[in-house]
């Protein structure tokens, strides 16, 4: 077999592309006039307008490497009339809104299975996460009317709250959280005090308009002038109505601090969850712990790679050098794939990647062992190289396919943590086959064409006795 120039060119192009993507953060810094060190502003994004290509390029770190909270929520007790998957999707939308309005960047809210929701909040501890997610489920607006609460109301609401004003009972206005389209913290222009602005959909707007028009007819201080907001069973807000509020939005004032106004806005945004949400599992990782893990894994990866390269050089000599270069190209390609396709790297994922280095080496070792045998059998260098690759191929193919089978099973049936491992291992195995079969083989063929590279001692083989 001759050196295939087209294949060599392909290897070159892929390697350059991979290095470009690996170093893209620096390209981005230069392009946006940022210093080359220190924290980076913005997300490095590669866009090629005439191809319609736009992709963010950075290493997506899992929560275990980044620090943060991972929650798995389970929906139970769905209100009648909704299916569990419908309830799940509504809940995902609501939680997403709630998380976003709290301003947590890069958070993930996604459905999992029929009745689960996964929430990932980087850089947030569990207590904060619970505050964002845990409390609210169903928001209702009530008015106070003369009378005493009946048993049904006391069942529905916290009795202490329902009996706040002796001689008055709460009456449901038919306005609930599902009618609120948005709520945000705002500031009263006259007093400069924090308040909360809410917007209703048309049905909520009409109801709220009629309700407030009726309320302002009562004097201030009278419970009948008040608007009572209950979340689940608890009274969270009991505000005076100063004027009728029509036109779809309302402002709630009344002794807020900036934080409590923000909290109420979040609770209002959470709207009405269509069922009860339980915490099925939670994981919280401290920020420094994640960073330490990354450092250790990179150290282990670098150490592993150096040992492997050292071993290859000592044991296989010249081909070892070739394999080491192939291995570095392999690492660059794999990293570029992780970055380009946004593969989330977790601890298990890193382990899978480091393990795949071992498998990449194995393919090379298989080829070189065969190469040595062929050389000992007295073949010429070129023929021995070709035969070496050719005869090692079935073992490389079958062993890697069986590893890919395991990855496949892990990916499709495994828990999220196992999935991360399966993806990186599979990418590693795939790239390693390319590395061994295409890159190493082409490099070997180049060597075979160079006169100084023909001494058998360079291959760790003694020249065979003339047969």
């Amino acid at each position: 077999m001759r050196v295939d120039r087209r294949l060599l060119a392909l290897i070159g192009v892929i390697a350059v592309l991979a290095l470009f993507i690996d170093g893209f953060a620096y390209v981005y810094r230069v392009a946006t006039n940022q210093p080359l060190t220190g924290p980076i502003r913005g997300v490095p994004t590669l866009s090629i307008p005439f191809l319609g290509f736009e992709q963010q390029i950075f290493v997506h770190k899992g929560l275990d490497l980044q620090g943060g909270t991972h929650l798995e929520l389970e929906i139970t007790k769905v209100r009648s009339g909704t299916s569990i998957t419908e309830a799940r999707d509504v809940a995902v939308a609501i939680i997403e809104r709630r998380v976003n309005s709290s301003g947590y960047a890069e958070s993930v809210v996604r459905p999992e299975g029929a009745n689960r929701i996964i929430v990932e909040l980087p850089g947030v501890d569990l207590e904060q996460a619970k505050q964002i997610l845990g409390k609210t489920s169903y928001l209702t607006i009530w008015k106070w009317e003369p009378g005493t609460s009946d048993a049904a109301t006391l069942q529905e609401l916290n009795p202490k709250d329902a009996q706040k004003y002796p001689g008055y009972k709460p009456v449901f206005t038919q306005i609930d959280g599902s009618m609120i389209t948005n709520a945000s913290r705002s500031t009263d222009p006259n007093t400069n005090l924090p308040d909360v602005t809410i917007s209703f959909n048309s049905k909520g707007s009409d109801l709220f308009c009629a309700f407030t028009r009726d309320r302002v007819t009562h004097p201030q201080g009278d419970p009948q002038n008040k608007l009572a907001i209950f979340i689940d069973k608890d009274l969270v807000e009991d505000a005076n109505v100063i004027s009728e509020i029509c036109g779809g939005s309302a402002i709630i004032t009344g002794g807020f601090t900036a934080a409590s106004a923000q909290a109420l806005a979040i609770q209002l945004n959470s709207g009405s969850l269509p069922g009860t949400i339980n915490l099925a599992s939670a994981t919280e990782v401290g920020a420094t712990l994640g960073a330490t893990t990354v450092k250790l894994s990179l150290l282990a990866g670098a150490f592993g790679l150096s040992i492997v390269i050292l071993f290859m050089l000592l044991y296989y000599r010249l081909p070892g050098l070739v394999a080491s270069i192939a291995l570095l190209i392999y690492a660059a390609i794999a990293l570029a794939i992780f970055k380009l396709f946004g593969v989330t790297l977790t601890l298990a994922g890193l382990a899978g990647f480091i393990l795949s280095i071992g498998m990449a080496v194995d393919a090379n070792v298989l080829i070189f062992e065969r190469l040595k045998e062929e050389l000992r059998a007295g073949r010429t260098l070129g023929a021995a190289m070709e035969a070496g690759v050719h005869r090692a191929w079935p073992a490389i193919r079958d062993s890697n396919i069986s590893t890919l089978i395991t990855c496949f099973v892990l990916y499709f049936f495994g828990a999220p943590l196992i999935k991360g491992f399966a993806i990186t291992l599979a990418i590693g195995v795939g790239v390693s086959m390319f590395s061994a079969i295409v890159t190493t083989q082409q490099f070997l063929q180049i060597l075979a064409g160079l006169r100084p590279a023909r001494r058998l001692a360079l291959y760790g083989v003694q020249a065979p006795k003339a047969a």
Binding site: A282, G286, L366, E369
Partner: protein, 289 residues
């Protein structure tokens, strides 16, 4: 070197390692992590050295079946039964008040009982599904005898690993021997690696059998093992180097994971050389077709 000829000694060595493990698994079971048993686990790091016994004393006041173990001089691992959200908050606040807690180096996990049940079923199922698919693939590439021998070697490694884990967790009561999701990942990796190793040798046997020679089947298998030996040891040694490095520097939460990989890969290398291929010879003797 005659490896196949001494096969019974090698089978015996495997048994000597597997049997105590099986006994331990049968009578003592496993030390289940919260992934499988359900519950709460704190991996607490402190700014100063703290004794596990002091934390244990504090945890006992909450009556939550807490088990506290030392994890390095300035860290402990606390495992409890599943906690209600409010209770969890109280406990954490209390620990933060009484000990020099460093939240940024700590971690916490909670697994509810429903998820735990799913994982137990899932993990066992994964091993079975992966094994079946591998048998099918190898039956196509080689034949069913090779496929079954490879899977027996694979099961050997699974038993070595789970047996040692049962002993580590139950007899030595070490947190390293905990069965959790990471352990399952390690076990599945070992399966992949074990088959990988076995296939390389089988490939050599397949190739040698095709060439007409005066060698008997037994000699042929032995020759193939010897021919692949350099490769088997070289590859395994490089992976083992990497894993030893990982094990030494890994934090407590993944030490068990790297140890499991280490044991599994040593076992996988052993079983592919000393069990899988000699099994082919045994089978050929019993059924000489």
């Amino acid at each position: 070197m005659n490896i196949v000829g001494r096969r019974n000694w090698y089978f015996l060595l495997s048994l000597a390692i597997i049997l105590p493990g099986i006994v331990s698994m049968a009578f003592l079971g496993f030390r289940l992590g919260i992934d499988f048993a359900g519950g709460d686990q704190y991996n607490l790091a402190f700014t100063q050295p703290v004794q596990a016994s002091a934390v244990q004393k504090e945890m006992d006041t909450f009556n939550v079946e807490a088990i506290v173990q030392q994890a390095g001089p300035d860290g402990v691992l606390v495992t409890t039964k599943p906690l209600a959200s409010a209770q969890e908050t109280t406990i954490r606040a209390d620990l933060a008040k009484k000990f020099p807690l460093d939240p940024s180096r700590s971690s916490y996990a909670q697994v509810g009982p429903t998820i735990a049940r799913e994982l137990v079923v899932g993990a066992g199922g994964l091993v079975v599904i992966a094994s079946i698919l591998i048998v099918i693939y190898l039956s196509i590439r080689f034949n069913y005898k090779f496929a079954i021998a490879a899977v027996l070697a694979l099961l050997h490694d699974v038993f070595v690993l789970t047996g040692i884990w049962s002993i580590l967790g139950k007899v030595f009561n070490s947190p390293l021997g905990e069965i959790n999701t990471l352990f399952v990942t390690a076990a599945l990796t070992v399966i992949g690696f074990s088959v990988h190793d076995t296939i390389v040798i089988f490939d050599r046997i397949r190739e040698n059998l095709r060439q007409a020679s005066r060698l008997t089947f037994e000699q042929n298998v032995n020759l193939s093992i010897i021919q692949s030996l350099a490769r088997s040891l070289n590859t395994s040694m490089t992976v083992i180097f990497v894993l030893v490095a990982l094990f030494l520097i890994s934090p407590t939460n993944i030490k068990g994971f790297t140890l499991a990989l280490l044991i599994g890969i040593v076992s996988g290398t052993y079983s592919s050389i000393f069990n899988a291929s000699p099994l082919l010879v045994v089978w050929r003797r019993l059924d000489p077709r």
